[in-house]
């Protein structure tokens, strides 16, 4: 009896903590802003909700979200990966090139893409975790190297969707769970979105409920302190970059499916969007906090802004500025919050 009461109280407290946590969380705030913005855009531009538009918005957002999950893992360890866009570009081009040259089944294309992404990520990891090159410099180097490789592979050519098997380029427009009730037609969920949601959920669970996931946060929060409790920060950082490369590989394969038309320069500029998505999603650039769910919502948010400019017939040139402003806004609010909590901490502790 008494224990039942205790359990009840405990459960209530848990629910309370959960709600309190959500109210404070960046993820929820961002989701609310997202819905509000979508409603606003939909009211001004009815074609925003047209199914072709929805599919194209969510497909690109899904690609960015998957890459952003990988980038979030890296940023949580207090590092950064600037080379994701080149990984995406190289993987997309190489996979397409292989499909063009050889008659391979689609799963083989996936394996090549993911494997190549993983290898590129591990290369980053080696330079950063073993040779101890600061990640911002190391990945600035590989950003350029991987892009250079793409130009070398492309050798002045580009790839058209005609060169690719139909099963590859059609995938982007496919969806599941579509249904029709009378006049109402639900077009279903694009498979890109399904895949992105799957990646986000797996990554979120892994971060929270596996040993390396926990250690990722510990290293990013305070590498020196993590070392005093026996966490090897180098292997943790290596793991983060490897996974980031692998997810960029997934994003690269999807990129090829979505666009069909591939150039050596494909994907250029996307690192900015990916990092913006992560930061807007509440992952602290100073490491140790944030979630991949936030990063994914951030990707959707930026995708929405991108599309809003199109459907509202606003100049597309604003996009870069908006991304930049969004990064600055997110990082400076983080800095402010951190400053406040540090001050509070100093007040309560320092003599």
């Amino acid at each position: 009896m008494a224990s039942n009461v205790a359990v009840g109280a405990n459960a209530r407290r848990r629910v309370g903590a959960l709600i309190g946590g959500f109210a404070r969380s960046r993820e929820l705030t961002l989701a609310v802003v997202l819905v509000a913005l979508a409603t606003l855009v939909a009211a001004r531009a009815p074609n925003f909700l047209a199914s072709t538009n929805v599919v194209s918005v969510t497909a690109l957002a899904a690609i960015i979200a998957i890459a952003a999950v990988g980038e979030a893992l890296v940023i949580i360890t207090k590092n950064i990966d600037l080379s994701v866009e080149s990984t995406i570009g190289l993987v997309a081009f190489v996979v397409a090139e292989v499909l063009k040259q050889h008659n391979l089944p689609i799963p083989a294309a996936w394996a090549i893409g993911i494997g190549l992404g993983l290898a590129l990520g591990m290369a980053n990891g080696v330079v950063i975790a073993i040779f101890r090159v600061p990640s911002i410099v190391a990945t600035l180097g590989t950003l350029s190297i991987y892009r250079g490789l793409t130009y070398w592979v492309a050798n002045g050519h580009e790839i058209n969707s005609n060169d690719l098997p139909a099963g590859y380029t059609d995938a982007a427009s496919r969806s599941i769970l579509g249904f029709r009730i009378g006049d109402f037609q639900f077009p279903g969920v694009p498979i890109f979105v399904v895949l992105a949601v799957f990646v986000v959920i797996v990554a979120a669970l892994a971060l929270r409920y596996t040993v390396p996931g926990r250690q990722l946060y510990a290293v990013g929060s305070n590498a020196e302190a993590a070392a005093t409790i026996g966490i090897r920060s180098q292997s943790t950082v290596f793991l983060a970059f490897s996974l980031c490369g692998m997810l960029a590989g997934v994003a690269g394969v999807l990129w090829g499916m979505e666009f069909g038309q591939l150039y050596a320069s494909s994907g250029t500029g996307q690192s900015l969007a990916i990092i913006a998505a992560v930061v807007v999603g509440g992952v602290s650039i100073s490491g140790g906090s944030g979630t991949v769910i936030g990063a994914a919502i951030g990707a959707l948010f930026l995708g929405l802004i991108n599309n809003a400019l199109t459907v509202l017939l606003l100049p597309q040139e604003w996009l870069q500025m908006i991304y930049g402003a969004v990064i600055l806004f997110a990082v400076s609010t983080d800095a402010l919050i951190q400053l406040r909590s540090q001050r509070a901490k100093a007040r309560s502790r320092i003599r």
Binding site: R14, A17, T210, S221, E224, A225, T228, I229, G230, S348
Partner: protein
């Protein structure tokens, strides 16, 4: 404010009628739960070296920071030439002629000596550009006047601590300083370098500068200083000419801090768990020997810089020893890393709060299990139930006040966060626990709690090394007290014989007989 200590201000007969160039008038300053300064008044006279002494945490550094414009008093004021002024910051204080040399030199290592001396006020040429030749010349002139030889064109990186300190002093004197504040300037100097420094300080005094000399080396106070002020617990205890004081007087003024009572339950003292013999780390400590038994609390007392934390860092594998042996449970050990020490059963709760490594955004349970995750969950996946039941045990035992093991550590009070840190290290299941200043900065209630925890841990058979600057704490908690002075063991005092005077005498390098004869 009630006056708790013996206060007798002895005024010199020939006190000048003009207001002192700089004085503190009734200054109070509070940080969180700690009253760092309470109604402290102090005057600094031209042509006088004024010593400021007190135990660790007595408020000396706070006074230095108030004078330097780093902290603004909550009440009271800094008085310049009889007028109260509000110092907005270090630059403002400097512009008013208050030059402060901090304990650790704060120089730009990649710039030259001359550039460091003239940081912020470099001599300008016609076009407003820096006049390098003039800067070098002016710097040389200052060093000449101090009769020291330092190449003003040298890069600071690689210069000795003593030279860096002289550069700080030169920097202080490069502006028209009326007051020179030296915060424990001799802490890292050799005897010869100390002599050179003293000559310079005397010379500066003779030029009519008022000098405030912060130190806890009593012999220096008597050798160098004209007057001395003693602080204790942030309060002014006494100001008197050093000619009217003796070393035992000073020690007695310094000790006798207000005591909070805490339980120390008797523990069964067992076998020797940790034995340290002849442990030496060059530049930090030498020939340290002591042992700790199961159930025993050994206090490591000493002034800041005596080498206590350095010893702990070596024992925990954060630094290497140059000589000596450590025996743990009868086996010789030599740790290459903290994880090796953890595996062998030593845990170290660091003094440096930056190293405590609580992950903000993690719950109590997640923080507590962090050091033992791979051991707890060898199959990669964590299980909340296991984690929470483990953490719940510690929350119970240490009485961590929270809404449950799910609560984020960010939401806890400082004292409760400190308990989570202790829980985290206890989760590693140590046999030897080293606690470095475990109660610094926590409020009095939490302090008593931490003491209870330490006492219970000893009773459960742990060997505990307690490093603390809080004398009453060390006295009340320890079965034995090892006192370090300048990197060496200066006394080992059993509980029954321990008194604040005795510990403080050993910590300041005085001979213990003085204390007993003075009583």
């Amino acid at each position: 404010m009630t006056e708790s200590g013996p206060i007798d201000v002895i005024k010199s007969a020939d006190e000048p009628s003009a207001p002192p160039p700089v004085a503190l008038a009734g200054v109070s300053k509070r940080f969180g739960a700690t009253q760092a300064l309470a109604d402290v008044s102090l005057d600094l006279l031209p042509g006088e070296i004024h010593a400021l002494v007190g135990e660790n945490g007595a408020g000396k550094s706070t006074i230095v920071k108030v004078l330097a414009g780093i902290h603004q008093p909550d009440s009271g004021a800094v008085v310049l030439d009889g007028k109260a002024v509000l110092l907005h910051g270090p630059a403002h204080a400097r512009s008013l002629g208050i030059a402060v040399v901090h304990q650790e030199p704060r120089l730009f290592p990649d710039l030259t000596v001359a550039e460091n001396v003239f940081t912020g006020h470099a001599p300008k040429g016609r076009a407003g550009s820096i006049n390098w030749r003039e800067m070098r010349r002016a710097a040389d002139e200052i060093f000449d006047s101090l009769s020291v030889r330092i190449d003003s064109g040298a890069i600071v990186r690689g210069l000795s601590m003593a030279d860096q300190q002289l550069i700080e002093i030169a920097k202080a004197l490069s502006v028209e300083a009326r007051v020179l504040v030296l915060d424990e300037p001799t802490a890292s100097l050799s005897a010869h370098e100390v002599e050179r420094l003293f000559a310079i300080v005397r010379q500066t005094r003779d030029r009519g500068v008022a000098v405030l000399f912060v130190s806890h080396r009593l012999e220096e106070v008597f050798e160098l200083c004209d007057r001395a002020t003693v602080l204790r617990d942030g309060r002014h205890i006494v100001t008197a000419p050093t000619s009217q004081l003796t070393a035992p007087d000073l020690v007695r003024y310094m000790v006798g801090r207000s005591v909070s009572l805490f339980p120390r339950s008797a523990a069964k003292i067992g076998d020797v768990l940790l034995d340290v013999h002849g442990l030496t780390r060059v530049g930090a400590f030498r020939d340290i020997s002591f042992s700790v038994r199961s159930g025993e609390i050994v206090g490591l007392a000493g002034l800041v810089g005596a080498g206590r934390t350095e010893v702990a860092r070596v024992l925990f594998g954060l630094d290497r020893a140059d000589a000596g042996e450590v025996t743990l449970h009868g086996r010789r050990v030599r740790f290459r890393s903290p994880s090796a020490a953890l595996r062998a059963g030593i845990a170290y709760v660091p003094e440096d709060r930056h190293l405590d490594g609580l992950v903000a955004g993690f719950s109590i349970a997640e923080n507590v299990t962090l050091p033992i995750l791979p051991r707890l969950f060898p199959r990669l996946f964590t299980r909340s139930s296991r984690e929470h039941s483990l953490a719940a045990g510690y929350v119970d035992r240490l009485r961590i006040r929270s809404t449950g093991t799910n609560e984020l550590v960010d939401a806890l009070s400082g004292g409760n966060q400190q308990k989570v840190v202790i829980a985290k290290w206890l989760a590693t299941n140590p046999r030897v626990l080293i606690l470095d200043e475990p109660t610094r900065g926590v409020d009095i209630g939490a302090k008593v709690e931490v003491h209870r925890i330490i006492s219970e841990l000893a009773a459960s058979g742990l060997a505990i090394v307690l490093i603390s600057s809080d004398l009453p704490e060390v006295l009340a908690m320890s079965d034995r007290i090892i006192v370090l002075h300048e990197g060496r063991v200066s006394a080992e005092i059993p509980r029954v014989e321990a008194s604040e005077e005795r510990v403080m005498f050993a910590a300041t390098g005085q001979i213990a007989e003085d204390a007993s004869s003075g009583e």
